[in-house]
């Protein structure tokens, strides 16, 4: 009966590898989730240092700190690192931790593939980062790596391409794992329409990832062969078309935007009902809205290319399709508002970040509608207005939801309560400095400041200075976040199984910290 003994042995939550092999050979969803989250935080700080160097250079007109070619490397790498290194892995970290806990599973479906999909990331990141130190430096053609400019780059570009390949493979494996876990390992009684919204948003996100990451891989592979093997996919002189790259890139790139925001919607949809002590308003319409956003996101890519030159019909189609996204997104915002309406709210740090998310993400959404209007987009495309727009959706959108989610689940992860006072400080400082840094960029863009420039005309000086002060404040505030998290891991008030009065999902039925093997006996969902 060795097999039976073995099973019983696994019920013992203290029975797991220790030391380095616990992490290198990790197959446990919590350990892997933890590694994802720390990896993303390290990348977040690296990308943040790049951003602050950019803002330091832009503090005043004239060239002071970096030269233009290095400036371009910084803007490019800031984008790549934040998108592929910080935001995406953070959400995969959340999925690893929370999906099994929330569907009542013992672990992820493919434990070893889970290990592999995480351990691909550090080498990819190393490859990407070390491009700074090779001849020619890091890629400097923008994170969108448009040819022919990206064909001019040194070998740093090839390293970035390989890094993207590896990160893409990691994302695809992670997604397959998440899809399988959600579809196969749900607790008895948990039908699809009873799943927590976070699980739903990740299911849809995972499908998007599986669909578009190979498209990116194809685009960058063609770029690689254009660069090194004399092909002419994107070279007009050889019969290719540089704009074709933009079409393929954005066919990946636009769903990518939603890959970075749908899980954020999920996290916020968990936090709001908990602290409003009231069920989520319009659960099924939230699910349908998420699905329709995902579908629409696949037919709007060319709105990134309105100035590339397109027939009238093309511009109109992509304008109408883009505007349609405002409808399901609006439904979500209205539903969150209705959830809060006549609730019995308290405002712990996760709730503050969730409300901050809705408030600022809506500003980003409204400026998105403005950008969708072709004639207006002609004016604001490739300006600071667009920078402001996508930082409102990616920083105060995706990142704020990540902060909210961390505070929300830290008691479950660590077994301790975090420091509420410091958490609130983190929120309010982030809120203040974020707006200081990015709100004024709307004005800069409207007044005519292009993006990706290391120096600017004198009329833009004051707002740039304000923006730089805000950026530094925001950057340093994140060290406070690190401190709060470390403090919570090391100790603090013991967290009960359910520290939040209004929490309803399955993870709160387990003790805090959650046992190593989560649900060894599936819970019954009625």
């Amino acid at each position: 009966m060795a097999a039976v003994d073995h099973d019983i042995g696994h019920d013992d939550h203290e029975h797991h590898p220790t030391g380095l092999s616990r992490w290198l050979n990790a197959t446990n969803h919590k350990d892997i989730g933890t590694m994802y989250l720390w990896f993303s935080f390290i990348m977040f700080l690296s990308g943040g240092v790049m951003a602050l160097t950019i803002r330091a250079e832009l503090f005043q007109p004239g060239l002071q700190i970096v030269q233009p070619e290095f400036f371009n490397q910084l803007t490019t790498m800031h984008g790549l690192v934040m998108v592929f290194g910080a935001i995406m892995p953070a959400f995969v970290g959340f999925a690893n931790w929370q999906v099994p806990l929330m569907v009542g599973a013992p672990d992820m479906a493919f434990a070893r593939m889970n290990n592999w999909s995480f351990w691909l990331l550090p080498p990819a990141a190393l490859l990407l980062m070390s491009s700074f130190f090779v001849p020619g430096g890091a890629p400097a053609g923008g994170w969108t790596i448009y040819p022919p400019l990206s064909v001019q780059m040194g070998m740093g570009m090839d390293m970035a391409i390989f890094a993207l390949h590896i990160m893409g493979a990691s994302s695809i494996m992670g997604s397959i794992n998440i899809i399988t876990t959600i579809l196969n390992l749900r607790a008895p009684g948990m039908t699809l329409m009873k799943m927590p919204l976070f699980v739903w948003t990740w299911l849809i996100t995972a499908y998007l990832l599986v669909m578009v990451m190979p498209v990116l891989a194809g685009a960058v592979t063609m770029l690689l062969t254009d660069r090194n093997f004399g092909t002419n996919f994107f070279n007009a002189a050889g019969g290719g078309d540089p704009v074709m790259f933009q079409h393929i890139f954005w066919f990946f790139g636009h769903p990518e935007v939603y890959i970075m925001i749908l899980p954020a919607f999920g996290i916020v949809s968990e936090i709001i009902p908990t602290f409003a002590r009231k069920p989520l308003f319009g659960y099924s319409s939230m699910v349908y809205a998420t699905a329709s956003i995902a579908i629409l996101s696949c037919i709007v890519w060319a709105h990134h290319m309105f100035t590339a030159g397109m027939p009238v019909t093309g511009q109109l189609f992509f304008m109408y399709a883009t505007m349609m996204i405002a409808v399901p997104t609006g439904v979500k915002v209205f539903n969150w508002t209705a959830t809060m309406w006549r609730g019995s709210m308290t405002f712990e740090t996760p709730m503050l970040f969730a409300i901050g998310f809705i408030f600022l993400f809506t500003i980003g959404g409204l400026s998105g509608v403005i950008c969708a209007i072709v004639p207006i987009d002609i004016q604001v495309q490739d300006t600071y207005y667009v920078i402001a727009h996508f930082h409102y959706v990616l920083v105060s959108g995706a990142l704020f939801s990540i902060f909210g989610g961390v505070y929300y689940w830290l008691p479950k992860w660590t077994g301790h309560m975090y420091d509420e006072t410091l958490g609130k400080w983190h929120f309010w400082l982030s809120m203040f400095f974020f707006n200081l840094a990015f709100f004024v960029q709307h004005f800069l863009g409207l007044a005519g400041m292009p993006r990706r420039i290391p120096d600017y005309a004198l009329q833009f000086a004051d707002f740039n200075m304000i923006s730089s002060i805000g950026a530094f404040g925001f950057g340093f505030t994140q060290l406070l976040f690190l401190y709060v998290v470390l403090k919570c891991i090391r100790g603090g008030v013991k967290a009960p199984a359910k520290p939040w009065e209004g929490a309803k999902t399955l993870e709160w039925t387990l003790p805090s910290p959650a046992p190593y093997h989560s649900f060894t006996t599936p819970p019954i969902v009625k």
Partner: protein, 378 residues
């Protein structure tokens, strides 16, 4: 208080969100699009203003409700939680209403898009070519046909490096402006020589990518005389921030006068390609050409930027076979930042090659005559 003033106060104070204030160009605190100078730019400006008001109304509606709830529906006020979680009617209403709002936004935008794309029957057609990192203009048809020049940033390097105080039009000034007559439809054909650039003049509401190997077009009609400034809007390499666009709109009479001057100048500078130059003449001209075209990468001392841009001082190309050197200057080198400089004149190419082969540590003694370049073009 007039309704306009009231609107201004509301606009400025509404959470500082956006504002409908119209401020003069180059105002350091300009909050809005620049003052429109063409029909299209005016339509864009008006639609943007309309959208801001709609967005503001939505914003106040949604967050008015939410913050009322945040203030009143609190546990600390002992507000009991309701338990409703569903209402199909409400859901349908807030799906349908936004659709109508969006249709209202899309209707005027559609009309403007169609107008923007109508580049038919222009009075003047100008080709604008993006180079790393300057603009080239060729007047193709209409009054001024045949005029052709390059337009470089004219802000001195010392200002950029903070060695001198910055001038009023810092980074937005060029040596040769694009001159157009007011009231005439100008069609701009866009292409590029090396990488993608974008030609953008905010006051005219024109922004169009210039793509190597392809021709795109856009149009504008300047309404009143003035100087309108813009910048390259698509990342095009290290000097992307230093290739502005300056358009001077003048009265038709002044335009005719300008065309006359240009034609005279053109005739005067046309030299016989078979003229033989001396080393000193070529080097002097070559130094000017080098400063305008090559110095950004290869640097004034010919040392380049190690690891990024090749050195010319002592390089195999600049001290090796003459033909190979001329070839790389004229045709560029694929896969690197070295662009083709075929657009320079025979004299300019001959001069710059001679200069590079006989400057710094290079002393080949080679003389390249314009006639040799002229031969190669055939």
């Amino acid at each position: 208080m007039s309704s306009k003033a009231a609107a201004r106060i509301v606009g400025a104070s509404a959470l500082g969100l956006y504002s409908g204030l119209v401020l003069a160009a180059a105002d350091p605190h300009q909050l809005n699009l620049p003052e429109p100078q063409s029909i299209i730019a005016q339509q864009i400006y008006d639609q943007h203003t309309m959208l801001l008001w709609i967005c503001l109304a939505i914003f106040i509606g949604v967050f008015g409700t939410m913050f009322y709830s945040v203030l009143k529906h609190r546990k600390s006020l002992d507000y009991p939680a309701a338990n409703f979680h569903h209402s199909t009617t409400v859901e349908i209403i807030w799906t349908i209403i936004p659709i109508f709002i969006l249709v209202g936004m899309a209707y005027p935008a559609t009309k403007t898009v169609i107008a923007m794309k109508d580049t038919s029957s222009p009075d003047i057609t100008i080709k604008a070519t993006g180079y790393q990192w300057k603009w080239g203009y060729d007047y193709l048809t209409g009054e001024g046909e045949g005029i052709s020049f390059l337009s470089n940033l004219s802000t001195p390097k010392a200002q950029i490096e903070n060695a001198e105080p910055k001038g009023e039009n810092y980074l937005l000034e060029v040596d040769n402006r694009l001159v157009v007559p007011v009231g005439k439809k100008v069609r701009v054909l866009l292409t590029a020589n090396d990488v993608i650039h974008a030609w953008w003049v905010p006051a005219f509401g024109v922004k169009q990518d210039a793509i190597p190997g392809f021709i795109r077009d856009a149009w504008f009609t300047a309404e009143k005389p003035g100087t309108y400034r813009g910048q390259c809007a698509e990342l095009c390499g290290k000097e992307h921030g230093f290739m502005p666009i300056v358009v001077e709109a003048v009265t038709p009479e002044k335009y005719a006068q300008w065309v006359g001057e240009q034609k005279t100048k053109l005739a005067a500078t046309t030299v016989d390609v078979n003229k033989e130059f001396t080393m000193d003449e070529l080097k002097a001209e070559g130094e000017k050409v080098y400063a305008a075209n090559c110095v950004a990468c290869h640097q004034a001392n010919g040392k380049g930027v190690p690891g990024t841009f090749a050195a010319l001082d002592g390089s195999k190309i600049a001290t090796g076979a003459k033909g190979e050197h001329i070839n790389i200057v004229m045709n560029g080198k694929t896969g690197t930042a070295m662009a083709a400089f075929k657009h320079l004149s025979d004299v300019q190419i001959a001069a710059v090659v001679t200069y590079e082969r006989n400057s710094w540590g290079n002393a080949t003694g080679d003389l390249v005559q314009p006639s040799e370049i002229n031969q190669l073009r055939k």
